[in-house]
Symmetry: C2
Subunit: 447 residues, 2 copies
């Protein structure tokens, strides 16, 4: 950590250079430049680098193994979210600017900041102690923000290049009272469009007596999927759901949760279905959801009656182990047919992502927790899963690795929003955190 | 009719002058000019004119009474629908153009053409026979296309100025095989917006586990209003509905109905709930409807999961005697409360219009039918109601007049669309039709 403090100016310069590259979907030059930057930096840290292609932006694989010692795999990504409304930014999103003890830029936390902290942990170790204490591997992809569509095929082809004793995922940080946040899983997601069609053109609304109305059809179809008491009615939907263990329930009660602050931020009188306290957390982490993202038919901005001729809606299902998105899609289609809604067309949108969770009791998790406690004063908050979805299952389930996610975020980092920023103190602690993890993992699993 | 044929050039000039005035909502100059044009023309026909004000555009009342003889009231309007997409028009909508045996302009049929045919019937009668055979009154308003919001108050104040033995309404024409179309009623309408609100801002969709989603709330609330078998579930909704009589059912079976042509035009495999033939017509004319005009929440054009914070929908109820829109609004609100949807805000949109029907058996109807048969070769098709809604109830129900609607439309008149046009032959027949009605009504009611 002292090393990180002393080299902070270099680290900020490094991260600024990286964040200046607009590496987002639809910007091939920015993605190429960022991939090259990552490859060069990993080589500088003494790793041997492979550039892997599978149809999307180049995936960077890098490694420096220590035969006879454990190996840790770091997962990161060099692509970023689009900046959104640039006028909402204090500083231009791709012109990184240090202001106070923060660096503002798109990607400053997600995920360039997290990767730079890891790179500097390697540098620090090598400068201070020489050879790394264990084998390290990196996988840095360029499509995380759009659902990693090419990663499954790439891992099928090059699986052995990602083998390790455990994987450190890309996202995390510190919460209230500087408590470090660790995540042991991700939700799966199935995202679909439903469409109903009626007459060739919209009609005068008086034909509502006799003409089919696709808005009604779609509304009835969707209302058959979930009841107002939040019970998902698709037959078989819950069949494979793995509930929380006793230990999970105990652990959830130790998680930080400022209920009043959340109600205030959302400006709602209460949560869904009267949830509160530990029940809120259990529902959020262990229950799958069926969210209605959007519904569009006719023109609600017009004061003019009409009978619409098309209706569309988007739904996303957030899934928990062991729900598979492909199976849920089949169940959804079967449900609609059986409920006399065979006229509703179902189209998957974006790649389906599977859920994954590493058990809290896994020795790898315990080792990471021990390392975390040597760096941070407050006890870590260990979340069974993040609310989001990602390709964690490819490593966790398909390659069989235990996974813990951690990073350099903080409560006001505005990840995915305007004014994304990283605190220098979190970069500094991030270097120390990764170094401590390497040191601890080198000693083998916790007993 | 010979007179009309000989004076067609004058009549087209007259109608062109009238149609050149852009008399639509939001164009006070166009509305004023049109009101002045109507007043002047009625004075030219020998009627005494009153300009009535009640907060909207001037309502023109005109009359020439014959003490001891029956009186007929003609209802028309000088406002028109906006032209919509002007690029879709062959000729500019407010630059009337004769092309072949048609005149193209916004308002050419609805409702300026119908009014001009009536004016020329008065002129023809006076030139050919001298004094009119019965008392005539006109009411020509300027807000029909936006629901006649100021007409109820005006009729309350000036009711006696509109008293008559019967009323000829503004719209009608000829259908397939030049069959004249008469309408004896209009539907009522209640048009409402429903709104649900959730969190202060839209959220990441993973919060679907615990955060209220207004799109779901609104969807469930609306699905509670009507079942997929088209049964409206609002308690009390059907209580006052007056079904068709035996004579109505017999009459409906004589109405023209080209089922295959309609399925082809709509490009649907079948009608709602398997309706066909006379059942289709009975449902369309005698059943109330609950139409979902629009539903909007989130952004269906984006491939990006989110939990929306607001949802809105528009619904319209087309009502039949004796359903009152104010009562239906109360029933709707009570239903939502009782079904645990008190969070849904209901807002009426536009003026509520009541339903009205004149019984087929009414002597006034029979007299108009007899007059129609002297002018048109095919038997008239007598519709118990039009699908649309208007202020007919103010005259029919509040003033107690029998009402028949007829006009100068045809199958390709594109009323409310681009290229609205009137055929000169329909203007010609329109003059003869009105003259025949005056002649017949002067003899007193049918026996």
């Amino acid at each position: 950590r002292t090393y990180a403090k002393e080299h902070m100016a270099d680290m900020v310069r490094d991260l600024s250079e990286f964040c200046a590259l607009p590496s987002m979907a639809g910007q091939p030059q920015g993605l190429n430049d960022a991939a090259a930057w990552v490859a060069r930096s990993l080589e500088d840290c003494g790793l041997s680098v492979r550039r892997l292609e599978s149809g999307g932006p180049t995936v960077i694989q890098a490694q420096r193994l220590r035969p006879g010692r454990p190996t840790v795999l770091f997962y990161n990504h060099y692509d970023v979210q689009p900046p959104g409304d640039e006028d909402a930014w204090r500083f231009p999103p791709f012109e990184p600017r240090q202001h106070g003890r923060r660096l503002y830029a798109r990607g400053a936390v997600d995920n360039k900041g997290a990767l730079v902290a890891r790179l500097w942990a390697l540098r620090a170790w090598r400068e201070l102690y020489g050879e790394l204490p264990l084998g390290v591997r990196f996988v840095v992809e360029g499509e995380e923000e759009i659902g990693s569509p090419h990663l499954p095929a790439l891992l099928q082809e090059h699986g052995p290049l990602f083998q390790a004793d455990g994987c450190i995922w890309e996202a995390g940080g510190v919460g209230a009272q500087a408590r470090p946040l660790l995540y042991l899983g991700m939700k799966g997601v199935l995202y679909v469009e439903l469409e109903a069609r009626g007459t060739a053109q919209a009609l005068h609304s008086s034909w509502g007596t006799v003409a089919p109305n696709p808005a009604w059809r779609l509304l009835w179809a969707i209302s058959s999927l979930k009841s107002p008491d939040e019970d998902i009615l698709i037959e078989g939907f819950y069949d494979t759901v793995d509930g929380p263990s006793r230990e999970d329930i105990r652990q959830v009660q130790e998680l930080p949760f400022d209920q009043e602050a959340l109600l205030e931020a959302w400006q709602v009188p209460g949560f869904l279905a009267g949830l509160s306290g530990a029940m809120f957390l259990l529902a959020h982490f262990y229950a799958p959801s069926c969210n209605l993202d959007s519904f569009q038919s006719g023109q609600v901005e017009h004061i003019h009656t009409a009978l619409p001729n098309v209706a569309r809606a988007h739904l996303d299902f957030r899934l928990v182990p062991d729900q598979q998105p492909e199976e849920i899609l089949d169940l959804l289609r079967r449900h609609l047919e059986e409920q006399d809604f065979a006229d509703i067309v179902v189209r998957p949108l974006g790649p389906a992502l599977r859920p994954f969770r590493t058990p809290l009791e896994h020795p790898f998790v315990q080792a990471v927790v021990e390392a975390t406690r040597t760096v941070f004063h407050p006890r870590p908050a260990i979340f069974p899963t993040s609310g989001g979805s990602g390709p964690m299952y490819l490593f966790g389930q398909d390659l069989g690795l235990p996974v813990v996610s951690l990073g350099v975020g903080h409560l006001e980092d505005n990840v995915h929003g305007a004014d994304e920023n990283v605190r220098l103190v979190d970069l500094e602690r991030g270097v120390a955190h990764v170094a401590a993890i390497m040191e601890r993992l080198a000693q083998g699993p916790a007993q």
